[in-house]
Every structure is written in structure tokens, then in C-alpha cells.
Symmetry: C2
DNA sequence: AATGCAGATGAAAACGATACCATGACCTTG
DNA sequence: CAAGGTCATGGTATCGTTTTCATCTGCATT
């Protein structure tokens, strides 16, 4: 494979000049530049990033560390990151942690050894010790979706609190009083915040908060099924369930099947995060959606901006507003005559209504986050 | 950041010995090894892959080039690749082409410059010219899902022909005679093969093949909708549609909504590739599924095997069998009393039946592919 | 005419690891 | 006991770039 020296020989210049042409730095005579470009083209020369980054300390690559690319939320985030990176010629290393600290630690080591320029990470938990390698090595990082305690770092996330609040208010507005919430692990900030939004909405409506209706598990289908099953087995009979993410909602559906409950007739269901084809597939969940693609895009742009400008501004927090998509899983008919009635015939596709969610103030306010 | 020399000094050995310890090559005295390991640990040393691969010509990374990670089929493939790579300490570079040749070409350039050890690619089309950079530079490659004409290369793919054949036979068995097929671009082998399977099943059943019922477009929702709409607008009235992938099936659902057709009552629908939560979300599509995770896993294993063994065996083709998952989108009740009737009430979750698909012989047989 | 300066280019060193070959110590074998 | 082999280790060159500094040319300034 051709090297920079081959190109230099062919163009009758020194490797240094070729390097200058490639990187568009300093002044090179237009005529020389043309000769170099011609040589590059003729030889099919492509710079060797290993050599380049050994010398220049810039790898031109990012690592994206997230729980599981298989979840449509993360898929879309990844797509946003990838697009932003690609636009600036950066490569993206994909890392799935499965919410597993050991895997995460392994990837942090990999990331250090790859000497990636920056990292976008949705950490397994909020414990700063678990992301220590990033801080110790001062690797530019953007934390997405989650929070890490005591770490002043760039962050991009959706507005979980307001989204949860809006969903629960929606349920309350429909007359529900016994609303259960199933959420993810304590300590995972999104799970916590969604519970906060739930509490806030109930409190504001003057409804009692029954702690037995709040369940915490993991962000996975099986956990959602177990929690739902437990709720009903313990004799609590919520008329509506708020699932803190889409996987949990799928668990609710599984449990409902087993319990002989129909959605929406017997049980209303809302959740955070959309499904892949939410408006095409029944039960047409009513959801709060974070702008997943934008979370990825903005995170990557923020990171790349830092890398290229080298600016040492103070860390920023970007909270992207969520939207509520009202569909059918609470039994509402959106427009007279347009949507299906509650009983039959089966709809093929539901009309949906997308509503911006206004931010609500956090009960325990954060350090002046930036809204946009 | 600590270098190998720092470690060497601290352990009182030469960098060469440290290198040997890191790479587990040659014999190092246990006591020396321990000293080196201790030094590594104390300094938090992580090898610099750039330097390493500059010298050793091995990047320890793979590129995965596929149409769109957002499609659940590709998501799952990616997950398989990632898991296999991670297990052997390889990093995965993610590249989305959006079926766009320009983007694909850009990534091939990136891949060359990154000097990745190997590439797993689902090429946009079968034109060998479009993947020429891989061949010219002799980059070890595994082609997945698609085919490239005149290229003897390792391949891993699902059995499209048999899957399509099985689905159409299923429809025929239910009494359908007017079955339409909407597929992807001509020249994309999966799209072509699925059409072949369709023809084969009809021919075998002695049914006439109406060319107007076969439509070719792109593998995207909007294209599926347009083709379905066109079918009905032209006065053809198929009772069943076979969509060549999940995105096209979503397009059928969109079109059906507009046309006032219910699935399955008015129109049966089957497709290739599963949806993310196919058994939880109505219309519970009956599908042929390729083992997407396995496609990714096997492709990565095949590639890594080649890289590490350096074996120059002849290229292999792995055709993984598809399965049929019979659900509800053709209006069948699986078990008396277990599934829902055709009319109501709405099911929450459908029982499903997963059936292995026996391979069928290709009408134009391929070069002795390997089955497993 | 001497000086200064900017532009264009090149020579050599350096980045951090591994490949290759060399060396000395110790062991085996006929 | 000499010859040869194995083991543990080290010295040095090298991978392909970019960085740093030096050189040279030509032109404007004084």
C-alpha cells in the first residue's frame, strides 16, 4: 500500500509537502498542490491513521458506550452520533454494556488503549468511580441520558421529569386514580426522574401516592412483566400503568396477556420512549418521546466541537424537551370518525397527535441546566 | 500517559520484555512477568494501539458496513458482530450506507485509511466495481445478506429463497390465489431471491403468475406504501401481500389504512424479517425470520478465524436457515381457545408458532453453498 | 545596497510499539 | 568434554506520519 513517501517521490516533493497538502495547512503553491493531488490519486494513496495518530495524538475516532443497541431508543441515538461523526470524518466505535459494569469497565480499557479522541457514554449507574478511567485520563466525554454524581461534565439528555409528569397528568385527566408506575433501577437517573415526574403529577392533582404502586426493577421486558404480575397478585388493581421505558411496557403487555387483561379496555398503558413503529402497531402506545436522534447528534456535535476548538468552556448540560404522542393505549378516540372505537373493527393504523411537553421545574432543582 | 518504556524502567527490564508479557508470546520468567504486571498495574499502563498497529500491521478492529442500523434486522446483526468481536478484543467501526453508493464509497475509503483488519459488509448492490477497493487492497472481507457478482468471497446470509417459498406456500395453503409481492430493488440479491421464492411457490402450486402483482421498489416504508397503493389503484385486488422485508410491510400497513382495508380481515400480510416486538404488537405479522444475530455472529467469527489463523482456505458461503413464525396477520387461529377470534376482543399478546423452514433447491443453483 | 520578512519547501527527529537478530547462561547428549 | 540446543532477555531498526526547525528565494523597505 502506497505511503506518503511514495506519493512524495512521484510528485517530486518531500513527504512534508504531501502532508501539508493532505491536511490543508500552511501555504503550498497551487501548482505543487496539484501535482501532489495527482500523485495521490494515481497511487490510490490513503493516509495511514495509525501512523498519523501515533505522531499527532489524534485518532479521529469516538467511542459510543451505551446499554444495548438493540433497544430502538439507543439505536436512534447511535444513528445520530454516527451521522454527526461521519460528517466530520470521525469513526465511531460501538460498545454495548448491557448495563453490566464489568463489560463497561472492559470497554473503558479498550477506549483508553484505542486512544479515542472522545467518548459518548450512557453509564450503567451514577457512581463516579465506575467511570473513573475517563476522568483520570482526562478523555473528553459527553454523558448522555444518565447522570453521574459529582462530575462536572458535558451532558445531553431528554427531559425525563417533564415527560413523566405529562404522561401521568394525561392519565389523571382521563379519570385514572389508581395509577401504577414501574421503573428502572434506583440510582439510574432516568429511572429516578421518571418516578419524580409521576409523584409530582399525582401530588399536584391532590391524589394520594400509594408507595405500593411504585415498583423498581431493571429496564428489561422480563422485569416489566414480573413487576406487573406482582402488582396484580398483591391485589392492587391499578387501572393504568406508567412504564418507565419501552422494554418495561412490553413486559406489561406480556403480563396483561397472562392476566387476561386487555389494553386499553381493562388497563391503560403509557410509557417513556417510543417503539419502532408505534403508530402502526397496536396497542398504539401513548408515549413520551425523547428526541433520541437529536440526543446523539447534539452529543456528538458538542464533543467534536470541544475536540476541534479545544475550548475549555465550563461543562454544559443540554436538556432536550420531550414530546407526548397520544395514541390509543388509554382508549381515547382522537377524532370523531377517524380512529377506531374501543371495540372493533381492528384499526390498521391509528391517527396520532404529537404534543410538545412544557418543562416543569424539578422539585429538587439542578444546577441551572441549559434548555433549548 | 505511561508508555511501554516507563513500564520497562519501573520493572527493571527492557521494553521488549514488557511487550512479550503483554502479548503472551515467548517465554518470560514467572518472576519477571510478575514484576512487569505489577508495573503495568501501578502505572495504569494501556498499550497504544496506534503505535502497536503501525508496527504490527494489525489494528484489532473490524468495520461493519450496513444499510441502516435503525432497521431491527440490522440492529440485531450488528449486535451479533459486536459480541463476537468483543469476545476477541476487537473493536467494531459502525458504518451506515443508507443504501447510498456515495456513502458506501466514503466508508470504503475510511476503512482503507483506518487499516482495519477486516470488513463485514452488506453492499448496496451486486456490482463488483462498487466494492473494488476491498478487493484491490485485499482486505479480508465477509459479505453478508447480499451477493456480489463475480466475487469469490466469504459470505454469510439467511436463506431468502426458502423463506419466501415457505411464506407463499403458507398463503396458498390458506386458500389465497391472488397474492401480490412487493420487493426491493432489482439487482439486490435478497430482493431477487425472495421474488424467486414467490414464483417457485406459485409455480409449484400450479397457480398462474401475474406479473402485474409483482412490484419492485426500494426497501423502505414509503416505497411499500406506494407499491401497495398502486396495486389497488390499478384495480388489482390481491387478497394477500408478501412484503420482502419489514419496512415494506410497514408501508403496506400505511397504505391499508388509507384504503380502508383491515389486516387480516380484508388483506393478509406476510413479510420477510421480524419486527422488534412482533409477538406483542398487532397485527402480529406472520413472518420468515433469518437468524439475524447469528448472521452477524457467524460472519464475525468467520472473519476473525481467517485473520487469526491466516488460513487461505477457499471462500466459504454460509447459508443460515430461516424460520417461519406464524402469527395472526393472515387471520389464522393457532389453537382453539388460546388465540383471539377474528373480530374481538383485541388480543394483548398472540400465541405464536415457530416453524423451521426446510431448504428448497434454487431454480438456478448456486455454486455448492454450504448449509448448516 | 543592506535589511527584514513572508512564502514555499525540506531535513531530521520523534511518536510508542514490535520484528529481528544477538547474547549469555544453562542444559543435554554422544 | 566439546558441540549444540533451549531459554530468558536485550539492542536496534523500523513502521508512516507530523512536528520542529532550517533553508532558500524573492520582494518590499529603509
Amino acid at each position: 500500500m502506497a505511503t506518503i513517501t511514495d506519493v512524495a517521490k512521484r510528485a517530486g516533493v518531500s513527504p512534508v509537502t504531501v502532508s501539508r497538502v493532505i491536511n490543508n495547512v500552511a501555504n503550498v503553491m497551487p501548482e505543487t498542490r496539484a501535482r501532489v493531488l495527482a500523485a495521490i490519486h494515481e497511487l490510490g494513496y490513503v493516509p495511514n491513521v495509525a501512523a498519523r495518530s501515533l505522531r499527532s495524538k489524534r485518532m479521529h475516532s469516538l467511542a459510543l458506550i451505551l446499554p444495548d443497541i438493540t433497544n430502538s431508543f439507543w439505536t436512534t441515538v447511535a444513528r445520530g452520533v454516527e451521522d454527526a461523526a461521519q460528517a466530520r470524518g470521525y469513526a465511531v466505535l460501538l460498545c454495548n454494556t448491557d448495563e453490566n459494569l464489568t463489560k463497561q469497565a472492559g470497554y473503558l480499557r479498550l477506549v483508553a488503549s484505542q486512544r479515542v479522541d472522545g467518548v459518548i457514554i450512557a453509564p450503567c449507574d451514577a457512581d463516579p468511580a465506575h467511570v473513573a478511567p475517563l476522568r483520570e485520563r482526562a478523555i473528553p466525554t459527553v454523558v448522555i441520558d444518565r447522570m453521574v454524581t459529582d462530575w462536572e461534565v458535558d451532558r445531553v439528555r431528554g427531559d425525563s421529569l417533564s415527560g413523566a409528569y405529562a404522561l401521568v397528568r394525561h392519565l389523571i385527566g382521563l379519570g385514572h386514580v389508581h395509577i401504577a408506575m414501574i421503573s428502572g433501577p434506583c440510582g439510574t437517573s432516568t429511572a429516578d426522574e421518571r418516578v419524580n415526574g409521576y409523584r409530582l403529577a399525582l401530588a399536584e392533582a391532590g391524589l394520594p401516592i400509594d408507595e405500593r404502586l411504585i415498583r423498581r426493577g431493571e429496564f428489561r421486558i422480563s422485569s416489566g412483566e414480573a413487576m406487573t404480575r406482582a402488582l396484580f397478585q398483591e391485589g392492587l388493581r391499578p387501572t393504568a400503568i406508567f412504564a418507565a421505558n419501552n422494554a418495561l411496557a412490553m413486559g406489561v403487555i406480556d403480563a396483561a396477556g397472562g392476566l387476561g387483561l386487555r389494553i386499553p379496555q381493562d388497563l391503560a398503558l403509557v410509557c417513556f420512549d417510543d417503539l419502532a413503529n408505534g403508530s402502526r402497531l397496536f396497542p398504539f402506545l401513548t408515549v413520551a418521546v425523547q428526541p433520541a436522534y437529536e440526543v446523539g447528534l447534539k452529543a456528538a456535535q458538542l464533543l467534536l466541537g470541544r475536540l476541534e476548538a479545544g475550548a475549555a468552556d465550563p461543562p454544559r448540560e443540554l436538556i432536550l424537551p420531550a414530546r407526548m404522542i397520544v395514541r390509543y393505549s388509554c382508549g381515547i378516540r382522537l377524532k370523531e370518525g377517524s380512529g377506531p372505537g374501543l371495540s372493533l373493527p381492528l384499526p390498521v393504523r391509528v391517527d396520532e397527535q404529537s404534543i410538545p411537553i412544557p418543562p416543569v421545574a424539578s422539585p429538587a432543582p439542578l444546577a441551572a441546566p441549559e434548555r433549548r
